[in-house]
Symmetry: C2
Subunit: 522 residues, 2 copies
């Protein structure tokens, strides 16, 4: 066997058959692998079985093989074999299946080296931008099939293109891992998501089997397997489990927290002996498409805002330095933080006319502020931020803070006891924690406490491609986790109301903001 | 659960989900079945998974389902579900995959009732009548694929036709069981048989997995499974294991013997604590196509012969009472026994000219006997039996007797200690044991000791369709069996030489023949 015990790729040498030892080829291989992997059962895929007798003899009973463990049972699948004397690439593909974007990465299963990475729009966006629209589309005849086929088709095309770039065939892919939320996973598998969104919120499956990828119509090696991250329930998907895996949240002694903001804010708190998770609607104002000028991070999108002293000139930075076309969630947070710092909005998030000056306008009794003029904008139209957008942002940040406060207190901790605060996803990659603290969305912890995890779902999926052990970690995460139902009771509402101020009613919680910002008055 | 614990069909009622118990549909079903089947793992086929959420709700969490156990591991496969309030037929199909003939039977999995039975020529006959020709055909490019496709295609057509007769769809079939010799099984599965026939005689697999039938291109329910009987080696196939299962050889206290005669004579001896098996070339003279007038049992084929007192008129009985066209193995044995009884052949199997009279002719120094005249024959030509045919028959019967003697003595028994002697296959169905004893092919045991098993391979396959327990029996058979290599040493040759007389050199072994036949002289 190879030295790297954690790799799915093993090199083995079988004893050759004889009249005294005339076990069949596959049973010979099975018996050997059983012993060496300490496994109860080895399943040799039919497709591998067909070539096995020829290859065993051609390679003198030596083999490099990909064996993939079933995490739910003591069973391994033989997915591929190759000549042990040739350095053929066994590749795998990790996928983060997002509602809006899908990211995929090709990985060399032996070396663990990343070969190529790409991302693309989820083609289901054409049917509906959000989960609910897509779930409802499944009520139409053929609706589910259409959604499933569109993502599988696009995935196959992207995989083929990725393989082409790396000089690989799609049949060189023997293992695929996929992390997504519960609904996206169901739509991918062709399983009805109907009851996920209806009380009592029941998925078709919590733990998809390690199936042949071909079962789902995926064009990788016919014996290649797919591991779809398990979900813990309707609102706690495989993407978050992949994120926990990547963050190693459950491997440290000190409690740490992980936040992933999308349509929902998903929060996990814990250490190596316990994990507490919850999710709540905290993100709408931070997602593209909600505010008039809001959009997902992309070229020309404002991701940083700085406002100078009077006359409060607004400086924006855009992705790729292109003329501004919109603003993403992290840009919104930056903007709100800056507006608040210079006093252009007050502690309730309302425009302060004196400070805003000529930039403040009014449209049908709705005040708005011109952030970028029509002349400077990339769209030819001014980019305006409305009072309603700010109100929505304040509600979102209040919800987020309340969720963080609630989950932390549920385990008897306070927020300032957290030494590590992971922020995942695109949001985590672009956000300036200082700004999020300024508006009281995130607690006032020392800089350096906040760590951006990048695409933790993709990273977690990629980790499974190169580490047998990671499957055990996932099982561990599943058993450790307790899901905290956010009861919207009086206490929650009280906390929420208190958090609806910038940064908070209780200013003592935000000493660094109090110190920075002379304009704050209680 | 249903009362019939041995059936693969179970009726269950799941607890309905609630906010307090929001496990996913499939995991709910899995957990329930695990507990009730005492199983480690339940595998819900992807195809069942797709319909599961709709059906569970439509049927108020009640289900009739087909669950099939993996005999090699503590795992069950859910192959099909139906409304517990409707009496829909879950059907299965059992197949005896013979080198020449294939027999199949449709069975109701719940009631165990046989629905339909048919048999057809193995379409691989077109490539070659015997195993060796077919194995060699696989050395040509595409040869294996052609053989595999021909049997799968024919099987699908026959299954569809059989379903049509029973008013079923092919998707009503959820379980298929198949028993065949090791080569036929490999050709069916598309696995190279090349090394089965070459020292050290290695099959690709001894234990085919309980796969989805669709993997082999079989047109039954897409979630339907196929159980292919395991083999113990190149010369001990699944058909014989199915025969042992049907005979219940391994369930009695008294040792019994099972003989299956085809190209090889396959012999199993044993009881509930041990089984001894061996195989040897004993059948050539008994198979169709070997003697000039020999053929497989079928319409117009001679299966019984009686010879009157002088002038020794030969009376033949044919299948379906048609004009005679040939003679099958059991007919040959009957003919030889009758010729011997009336003194037309001597104890070495040679024609006795005086007794044969005008029926004896000569052709290029090869004596032959006219059994049926051209006028009475169904072919317009006389049916003749040559001295060479008789010589060949004598060698075959001697080999058979020697094998029986050898295997029995190997366990310290003598042939007359056997109370039950099963004769399987077409041979078993047509043979007159008395005639086989007369020529010394089978030992001289009391009438009633010999029992025809019919198509024991098909019966064994059908048994698995309706009995969970039978899979355990098969595993038991596999572990109990010891394979006796027939060493063709001096002792074997001595025994063989002694058995080349009719009935045997040692006449004391055949007291009933000695008593019957006044013409015998030592």
């Amino acid at each position: 066997m190879t030295v790297n015990k954690d790799s799915w790729v093993k090199t083995i040498n079988l004893p050759a058959p004889s009249l005294q030892d005339n076990t069949a080829d596959s049973d010979r291989l099975i018996n050997f692998l059983k012993q060496h992997l300490h496994a109860h059962r080895i399943f040799i895929d039919y497709y591998s079985l067909q070539e096995l007798p020829f290859k065993l003899r051609a390679w003198d009973y030596g083999l490099r093989c990909v064996v993939i463990k079933d995490p739910y049972f003591d069973q391994w699948y033989l997915a591929g074999i190759s000549d042990p004397l040739k350095d053929r690439c066994f590749a795998g593909v990790a996928v983060d299946l997002g509602t809006s974007r899908v990211a995929l990465r090709l990985v060399d299963l032996s070396s663990g080296k990343s070969l190529y990475e790409t991302s693309f729009d989820n083609p289901q966006l054409k049917v509906g931008p959000d989960i609910l629209t897509r779930v409802h589309a499944c009520d139409q005849p053929g609706g589910l099939q259409e959604l499933t086929q569109s993502i599988i088709r696009e995935m196959n095309q992207q995989i083929r293109a990725a393989c082409h770039v790396c000089g690989l065939e799609n049949t060189d892919l023997y293992f695929m891992t996929l992390a997504g939320n519960t609904c996206m996973t169901h739509l991918f598998m062709g399983l009805a998501p109907k009851w996920i969104i209806r009380e009592p919120y029941i998925p078709v499956t919590n733990t998809p089997d390690v199936e042949r990828a071909a079962v789902y119509g995926l064009d990788i090696n016919p014996a290649g397997r797919i591991f779809i991250f398990p979900n813990i329930g309707s609102y706690f998907g495989g993407d978050l489990i992949a994120g926990i895996l990547h963050s190693k949240l459950n491997q440290g002694k000190d409690p740490a927290i992980l936040v992933d903001v999308g349509t929902n804010a998903e929060v996990v708190l814990g250490n190596d002996s316990w994990l507490m998770a919850c999710a709540g609607a905290a993100g709408p104002a931070l997602e593209g498409g909600v505010t008039q000028i809001g959009m997902m991070a992309g070229p020309g999108v404002v991701d940083r805002v700085r406002i100078g002293p009077e006359p409060h000139t607004i400086h924006v930075r855009t992705i790729d330095d292109l003329p501004p076309v919109g603003i993403c969630g992290s840009g919104m947070i930056d903007l709100a933080a800056q507006l608040f710092k210079v006093g252009m909005i007050d502690l309730r998030g309302r425009f302060v006319p004196d400070a805003c000056g000529q930039k403040l306008h009014d449209q049908a009794d709705m005040p708005f502020l011109e952030v970028v003029s029509a002349k400077e904008s990339g769209t030819g139209r001014a980019l305006n931020i409305y009072q309603a957008d700010l109100d929505s942002l304040v509600r979102s940040k209040a919800a987020m803070y309340t969720i963080l406060e609630t989950i932390t207190e549920s385990v008897g901790l306070s927020l300032d006891e957290l030494n590590t605060f992971y922020v995942a996803g695109t949001f985590g990659a672009y956000i300036d924690p200082k700004s999020a603290v300024t508006i009281g969305m995130l607690p006032d912890l020392p800089e350096g406490t906040y760590k951006s995890l990048g695409n933790s779902s993709l990273e977690g999926a990629a980790q499974v491609l190169t580490s047998c052990e990671s499957l055990n970690r996932i099982e561990q995460i599943k058993t450790q986790i307790t899901y905290l139902e956010l009861n919207v009771n009086q206490q929650f509402m009280n906390r929420f109301s208190a958090a609806k101020f910038l940064p908070h009613t209780d200013l003592s919680r935000f000493p660094s903001i109090l110190h920075d910002n002379s304009t704050i008055s209680s």
